[in-house]
Symmetry: C2
């Protein structure tokens, strides 16, 4: 498989097979041809993904999940869940939390369902379900899809990145996942997030820095207390991601937090912080006290 150079896989757990090897499938209890079963959180949960196509889940999803604070309870919506990496990472760390994985692409929603059916995910399946729907649905269509108003305590989202002119996307499924980030993508996704969150609920986003303007505009008056964390490969590098959280209905000021550093030293070794965040051993909670709704 190929990865874009700025995407980073979870580290192989000590004593666990490396990710992306079909051999994992057997251990996880669900080998199927054409799919891989990849281990996350040091082998604590597994993800079925198409073997050769589509966006691969990795550290982006793990960082996104880390923004849900320790002690969180209630229901989380993972918008554009793909195979469910971020939502499952959140509930794997947080035993009081349930997740609804919302995904439009049938192939990926199918992967999410297959993931929940794995023996290795038996501890998570009772707290997760999949909705195959477009997260930008509005009004009655959204309600009919199962996305009720003010039904969620947390919303996390990892929208498709801009394929852009500088990025080759020869593969159609990958091209869809990296679909063109239209001017109003975040407007449409955050409109849904605002609708389905309880007042005081937290939205979390991982995105490229170039999306900051669109994200801030779409958060607009719906959310406040925006906290942005740059994710930086090595000291002196530009950020390759921003991790954004905000609170529905808050009027608090925006803050810009110090970076998360991905690597330690000049090589590809992860920093301790990144290892802990990526493997569910640590959270990246908001600085301002979270209102944990209800």
């Amino acid at each position: 498989m190929t990865r874009a150079p700025d995407e980073f896989p979870p580290e192989p757990a000590p004593g666990q097979p490396a990710i992306d090897r079909p051999v994992d499938a057997h251990a996880a209890g669900g080998a199927v041809s054409g799919y891989t079963v990849d281990a996350f959180h040091n082998g604590k949960f597994f993800l079925v993904q198409p073997a050769d196509t589509g966006h691969r889940a990795g550290m982006d999803a793990m960082l996104l999940a880390a923004t849900v604070p320790d002690g969180a309870s209630g229901v989380l919506a993972d918008l554009g869940a793909g195979a469910g990496a971020a939502g499952l990472a959140a509930i794997n760390r947080l035993p009081g939390l349930s997740a609804v994985l919302i995904e439009r692409a049938p192939v990926m929603a199918d992967c999410a369902r297959r993931s929940l059916a794995l023996a290795g995910n038996a501890h998570l399946a009772p707290r997760a379900r999949v909705i195959e729907a477009d997260v930008t649905l509005q009004g009655r269509q959204r309600l009919a899809a199962g996305l009720a108003d003010q039904a969620f305590d947390y919303v996390i989202l990892n929208p498709p990145f801009n394929a852009g002119a500088d990025r080759k996307t020869p593969d159609p499924l990958k091209a869809e996942a990296h679909a063109m980030e239209s001017q109003d993508l975040f407007e449409r996704w955050l409109r849904t997030a605002a609708a389905i969150l309880k007042p005081g609920g937290q939205v979390s986003i991982i995105a490229r820095p170039e999306s900051m303007s669109g994200i801030l505009a779409a958060l607009g008056n719906r959310f406040g207390g925006v906290e942005i964390t740059p994710v930086v490969p090595r000291p002196g590098d530009d950020a390759i991601r921003i991790l954004v959280t905000a609170i529905k209905g808050s009027r608090a000021r925006m803050s810009l937090r110090d970076r998360i550093l991905i690597h330690q030293g000049a090589g590809h070794v992860f920093s301790n912080e990144m290892n802990d965040l990526g493997n569910g051993r640590a959270a990246w909670p908001r600085r301002t006290k979270n209102r944990l709704p209800k």
Copy 2:
């Protein structure tokens, strides 16, 4: 004098008097009662400021000036120049550059003129002049004030910070300088910046992180290639400033650069980087190659 806790004075130069001591005035050649004459860039230039009132120039202005790259030539506009700290810092480092200091408040414009009259600034005075005008003037009024269309190679701006609910501003002049940052402050200031810059010219802004949304919205389609640098006191702290540059007419993507760290260790000692930037020994040029207009 008092400073807000997140403002930082320039370091006293070795062998130079500390800033804010009237004793400096004699050395600089212009002691006047009611004013201080403060040394910047290790005593390479001086600034007349009201002794007890008003916003005091400091590291913000020095960082702003540092965004103008080595080798820059042409004319720079310092919008809302105050006593002229940022503009004079830029031309003190850059012998090929001239500066126009634009300031609305008569007391501060007077300080800027007094600064240019100091013997200690004789090397700068031929390359600087003061325009007493409101930077938000439009149309004929702006032209009549001397702010012609596409006349400048660089524009730097350090708009008044939001006084905000959490900040005491008992002093009226200080209150004006820290005046309420209205929703459209950056819209009005950057409208002028876009009008007076040559195509390909660079605008630089220093502001609080909470202004990011307003800045990005106002940069809008007028500017591109936005580069944002967080300015962070110590590792793990939230940024207290953002340093923003952008290019008029560019369509390049935004980037988020790694932080500038103000302090070294837990105390109040400046980092080497901050010392160099604050004293004109180093620049903070854009990462993407600057088009140096004309």
